[in-house]
Amino acid sequence: MKIPLYHYDIMKEREIQQPVDFNRHRRLKHTDKTFKAEISSITTLTDMEKLFHLRILDEAERERFTFLPGQFVMLEVPGYGEVPISISGSPSNKGLIELCIRKAGTVTGVLHKAKRGALVGIRGPFGTHFPLEKMKGYDILLIAGGLGLAPLRAPIFAVTENRPDYRKVDIMYGTKDPSQLLFDYQYEQWRRIDGVNLHIIVEKADDKWTGDVGLITKLFDKIEIVPHETYAIVCGPPVMFKFVCAYLSKIGVPMDRMFVSLERRMHCGMGKCCRCNIGSTYTCIDGPVFDYWTVMNLKEAI
């Protein structure tokens, strides 16, 4: 006598047969299926950073891919690896995913060598986003240090494209030196928008630099902030957002109205691999966007 046990074939599950949509968190899906995307354009920003435009090949997949500013994707170069990259583009620009990538490791290194037309894989979007809905009707501070402008560019798009929803907008941006300034070709455009002020500062000037010199917090001297009517988004290295948020907190901006984006190692983006754990918090699921009060409560976050 034999008892052949039941063969469970997960491919017969109704949910998994649906098209993969990473915005449906609870639905059973092929968690490691990537959307094949073409590098449709490459813009060199600095020696270390390039802006990649990606276009998902499959039309239906492209149509389903929607994200909110602050979210990230897992970008896979098959054979090389997978890295988390925050989306730098506008959510309204359907079908185009803009990623600003610094050459830092194997995957990003080979991406910098890749040519237009190369095919990569994308999973996502993942993570939390900046609460642009809640920020409506307030003064907005958009503050970036260094590579922080990459994730900040998405909310800059969202705010400028929906200009009437927000009051005064101040964009503050600081880098080590002028050679590291990202997206310099867009500054003029941002400056010309009514009620949007762009302030740029570098820590060390070169011969040609005529703008401000110093740490980013120095820019606060130029800006009038009404603390209880302001929301802030701060993107940059921990030392930078720590000082910026401390200043804002001191002048009375509530900590739960300041938002930062944290960076950690990630291997899955889905709260499974634990690599991005900060205490009991998953940067990939509970973040990467956190309000500053939450960050203060995360041990080892800063």
Binding site: K2, L5, T31, G271, K272, N277
Partner: protein, 346 residues
């Protein structure tokens, strides 16, 4: 739940029937240690005689049959200008015979993370649903503190569960499949006398626990004692060898690497179970390590077990099997660490 009685001879028949057409994993003696104690592992078996259901504990947990140490998440075929991704999930059934309550509880905890939460894992679910699980009651193992965590008895997560009543097993039937499999052999109905005997056996097992750990208030305590010297004391001993996570029935963290074949025609995205105690666990591209110290890494392992998991799922991740304590050459073990943390509060 339904209950039946199964004579041990009939049980042997049942196992032989299962062995005929299925892969069976069961506790097997693999040797003796330096003090003469027998050592067991969950391993594939081909005959009833290889199985030793009287085992005290296994060095490794049963998790690797659900979360393999290494697994391909996807494979790639490279073809000139294009590539093709392929993904496969397990479809073959497997019998897991002789799991103790703690190991079944471990699966229930893994279910919460990997099957019920955001982004359910098809890899895990495919293995989990292809497993036919027969559990068994046992005398408390040395150093085990499952009773303190409420994982010494189990009410679901298995197909059949056996309690040894001498000549026969008292069988709890939890699934329709378990019921149908049991129909293949002769069983008896349970009398009042059998039930009394079963309850007595359960009680004597309960009473036999020696190790107790106070996990009450632990989530809060771990927060309060975040900077405690206790972590330096134990952290200095830690070898950062990851053995604790490897044998832990609920540790699920992993790393992903990609491989390419030597002819550059194919590749694979490989998942490997990792440990938060390993030195480069939190190292990011560019080289910065968020947890460069042993004590920090060790602390976070406990933090996840007894605080983080509680926050997410209202229960600790630990099942109290003490496999990590037994495998640790540095003698780092949960009962002692938790006792130290509790002492700090007085």
């Amino acid at each position: 739940m339904l209950f039946k009685l199964l004579d041990k001879d009939e049980f042997k028949n049942l196992v032989n029937i299962l062995l005929q057409s299925n892969e069976v994993i069961a506790p097997k003696q693999v040797g003796v240690n330096v003090t003469g104690k027998t050592l067991h592992q969950y391993l594939p078996v081909t005959s009833f005689d290889e199985i030793d259901l009287t085992y005290e504990t296994t060095q490794y947990s049963a998790k690797t049959y659900f979360l393999p140490y290494k697994e391909n998440l996807s494979t790639y075929r490279f073809d000139e200008k294009d590539w093709k991704q392929e993904i496969r999930y397990r479809q073959e059934p497997r019998v897991m015979l002789g799991l103790h309550a703690c190991d079944i509880h471990a699966l229930l905890k893994l279910d919460k993370v990997l099957a019920r939460d955001n982004f359910p894992s098809p890899y895990y679910i495919a293995r989990r649903k292809n497993a036919f699980i027969i559990g068994i009651d046992h005398e408390p193992c040395e150093g085990g503190f499952c009773r303190s965590l409420g994982t010494d008895t189990v009410n679901n997560g298995f197909d059949l569960f056996l309690t040894d009543l001498g000549e026969r097993y008292f069988v709890s039937i939890n699934t329709d499949l378990g019921y149908r499999v049991l129909l293949q052999v002769k069983t008896k109905d349970v009398t009042e006398e059998d039930t009394r005997k079963y309850l007595l056996t359960r009680k004597s097992i309960s009473d036999a626990f020696q190790t107790h750990v106070n996990v009450q208030n632990l989530p809060n305590l771990l927060d309060l004692e975040f900077e405690s010297k206790v972590w330096n004391k134990w952290g200095q001993k830690c070898l950062s060898c990851g053995s604790c996570s490897m044998v832990c029935p609920t540790c699920y963290c992993y790393g992903v690497t990609e491989r390419v074949s030597m002819d550059f025609k194919s590749g694979a995205k490989v998942k490997q179970l990792y440990s938060c105690n390993l030195v480069d666990f939190a190292t990011v591209a560019g080289g910065h390590n968020f947890r460069p110290n042993r004590e920090t890494r060790l602390k976070y392992r406990y933090y996840h077990q007894h605080r983080g998991f509680v926050e997410s799922y209202d229960e600790p991740k630990c099942v109290g099997c003490n496999r990590c304590g037994r495998v640790c050459l540095a003698e780092i073990n949960p009962p002692d660490i938790i006792r130290d943390i509790q002492m700090e509060e007085r």
